[in-house]
Amino acid sequence: MEVRHESIICPGCGCLCDDLDIRLEDDRIVEVGNVCLWGVSRFFHAKKFHPKKERHRLQEPQVRHQGRRSTVSYEAALAAAAEALSRAQRPLIYGLTNSGSWAQEAALRLARSLGARLEPSDLAYKAPYYQSLQRHGVIWAPLEIIRDEADAVLFWGANPIHSAPRHVVRHAVFARGRFTERGLEDRQVAAVDIYKTELAKFCPLFVKIQPGQELDLIKGVAAALTEKAASNPPVKGTRRLAQFLSKATCGVIFCGRGVSYGPALEWFEHLARLLDFLNGQARFFLFPLSGEFNSTGLYHLLLNEVGQAGAPDFGGAEVAAHFTPVDFREVDAVLVTGADLLWFLPEEQVEDLKQRQVPIVVLSPFANRTTGQAAVILPTALAGIEAKEVAYRMDGLPMVLKQVTPSNLPGDHQVLADLERLIKTQD
């Protein structure tokens, strides 16, 4: 039987595009309209940017015993996960930026009951951003307002073509807004990066810098705008970037993960100061570009529940919030959901986890590098496709993701809730 769904929300990235049209035959997705390659990777279980290479879907819970992995029942896998986590002195719940809000809420409850640390996978990038807001305040706008009004768009260390592909057509570069009716012709677009990215094809101003020049560039721009002498020799492109920013009547700076590879805290600090200055002349917004589909939802939850946009640690008498990534040498059990931990970890840390035989419990719909090393694997339904969920778009507006196709697998919020219940009964 053929079924069509219109205006479905895509859980591919932080854009949460709400204009996807889907055709199903016998509950199998056969066609998706208006979707980008990230969306394809979710709806068709394909590798990102390789729509014809299939991603291995996990179907059965598995437990590793004496180096060999065996398929077990859901209850047995849950019991093994509960045992590994409750035995740990310093458990860690990691990831969650690619999980729905219900799963994030369940993970926070689990972290509280375990006395664990909860670590967003993009902490190194987002925590310095929120710390700069703490010191300098915030000027914010929904993406629709940015689409309608921003006439200067700067991508700094961000490549939306890779992190949020349709962002450039729906919200920023080519999008036609109320006061930007001609799209790109009504906007100035610029980018700063250490590589020449795809943005160079449509950004008249592309400032390519060397790694380590980020701070000098931003200080140089600030000096040029305030007509003060810069302390260091200017980075190539400083003056043009300053001119670009000074001409804007409404501007937005989208920063990406690239900024976290350098001294992110100092960079955000200088950028926030620059924004303070620019906001004295025109409206300017500083906007972190989220590749993960619900990273904003996680920080929103942490702000609401813990009052801090850092990694909360429930291990002590009082809840401590950390703003720097966890030292994995201190961790003796990890639960990973909504992220591929081992993909991002440096090789020596991966080796350390292996050597110390730190049990890794993974909740994931797909096989990935982390599931390859996991002690317990709990397969989950795809949030927003096979299970209903809530997610926050990158500007902080929540959206309800529908279930479009049924699944025998439980949603990750369900697994986390079951795990918490089991751990409580064991106590």
């Binding site: 929120y130 807001l133 703490q134 010191r135 300098h136 305040g137 915030v138 000027i139 914010w140 706008a141 929904p142 629709e144 307002i145 309608d148 009004e149 006061f179 009547t249 409404c250 906001n279 409206r283 917004f285 929103h300 702000l303 609401n304 529940e305 009052g307 801090q308 946009a309 809530v390 902080g396 507006l397 929540p398 959206m399 309800v400």
Partner: protein, 378 residues
């Protein structure tokens, strides 16, 4: 559940109860005629029994309020508990827009204990071409009714009663405040709803064609000079209803607060952390003392200048000279609210202004639809 509140001193200006001893019977969350049998009796001898409070201007779920939590501030759970401890059962969020409705409703749903509702802020700029032509009045009314339903809001609010553009290209579409107020009067008649109009100096100075069609929301921050107190009193005398928008005193020398400004597509961004002005706060309180028993309901200015945890302090200014002297170094005259007047301002009027009545404590707009009567020692 059948409940009896026995022998309390009953106060409800809407029913002309002014401290008479009596029993109240509640069944299924509603006040009912005396019941022959009850499941529970609450002994309230010597205690005051009043309807529950309703905050007309409880800024608890505005889009962007999370950013204020970066520098401390209560969580939603604490806010809900604070309201409950103060005897409030209903909170009305003033700033919901068509874009942010999902966020606001989700936050309101997460607020524990209390019932909630919200005002839909109408951005006149989005309707400007239609506002100018009377033949489109019906279409505008229908559009707004649709939006009210789609966003699950209780009523309409206008923050900027003018149409203005930053872009010179749209200069021909500007509509001045005086003309907009005329259009809004017509719209209020069409919608059969009083429009909440955020009190600003321009609004207070303007001539309202039909004052009874408007509720002047948050008078306090709009009282930029002494003359505006008189102007506000004149508007109230002419028939407008209002809420106070009281605020905590803030010493002038204090460092300006960090900006938390949200651009919601209005001409000016919504400031969630405005800088306090002691003179403005004093004027708001002086106005409150002039309006006891009148058409002015109690409210705080906003989450930054009048957090709910500080409401007891704001209440105390209304009836206690010593509290006023302590906070304002002045007792601002001899006037003070009686208990009945305070109940009128915090319970009866807010309920009437939001289209509810005190008997049902906001039942028409509530999620939980409970009527709570609060007993406390006075």
């Amino acid at each position: 559940m059948r409940l009896k509140i026995a022998e309390g001193r009953l106060y409800d200006p809407a029913c002309h109860w002014d401290g008479e001893a009596g029993d109240l019977y509640i069944e299924a969350g509603r006040l009912v005629a005396p019941l022959p049998e009850v499941d529970q009796v609450i002994e309230a001898r010597g205690q005051v029994v009043t309807p529950a409070g309703l905050d007309l201007r409880g800024q608890v779920a505005t889009f962007g309020l999370d950013f204020r939590r970066l520098n401390g501030g209560p969580s939603l759970a604490e806010v809900g508990e604070n309201y409950a401890l103060l005897g409030y059962t209903h909170v009305h969020e003033p700033f919901l827009t068509a874009w942010t409705a999902g966020y606001v409703q989700r936050q309101l749903a997460a607020l524990p204990v209390v019932d909630t509702s919200a005002s839909l802020v109408v951005n006149l700029r989005e309707l400007d071409l239609y506002l100018g032509s009377p033949e489109h009045g019906e279409e505008v009314g229908q559009t707004l009714r649709f939006l009210l339903e789609a966003t699950r809001s209780l009523n309409f609010r206008v923050v900027e009663p003018f149409v203005q553009y930053r872009q010179d290209f749209y200069a021909h579409r500007i509509i001045k405040t005086e003309k907009v107020l005329g259009i809004l009067t017509d719209l209020a008649r069409r919608l059969d709803l009083p429009l909440a109009l955020e009190a600003s100096p321009e609004v207070l100075r303007a001539h309202l064609p039909e004052p009874a069609a408007f509720h002047l929301a948050g008078l306090g921050p709009g009282l930029a000079d002494e003359g505006l107190v008189e102007a506000a009193l004149a508007q109230l005398e002419a028939g407008a209803s209002a809420d106070l928008g009281l605020m905590l005193p803030s010493p002038g020398a204090r460092k300006p607060p960090l900006p938390v400004k949200i651009d919601l597509g209005w001409f000016n961004p919504l400031d969630l952390n405005p800088q306090g002005d002691e003179a403005v706060g004093r004027r708001a309180l002086a106005l409150a003392l002039c309006c006891q028993g009148g058409q002015v309901a109690f409210s705080g200015a906003n989450a930054a200048q009048a957090p709910v945890a500080e409401y007891p302090r704001l209440f105390s200014w209304l009836w206690d000279h010593a509290a006023r002297r302590q906070d304002w170094q002045d007792d601002l005259g001899a006037r003070r609210y009686s208990l009945s007047e305070w109940i009128w301002a915090t319970r009866t009027l807010p309920a009437l202004a939001s289209g509810c009545n005190t008997w049902a404590a906001a039942a028409p707009c509530s999620r939980r639809g409970k009527s709570w009567w609060i007993t406390f020692a006075w």
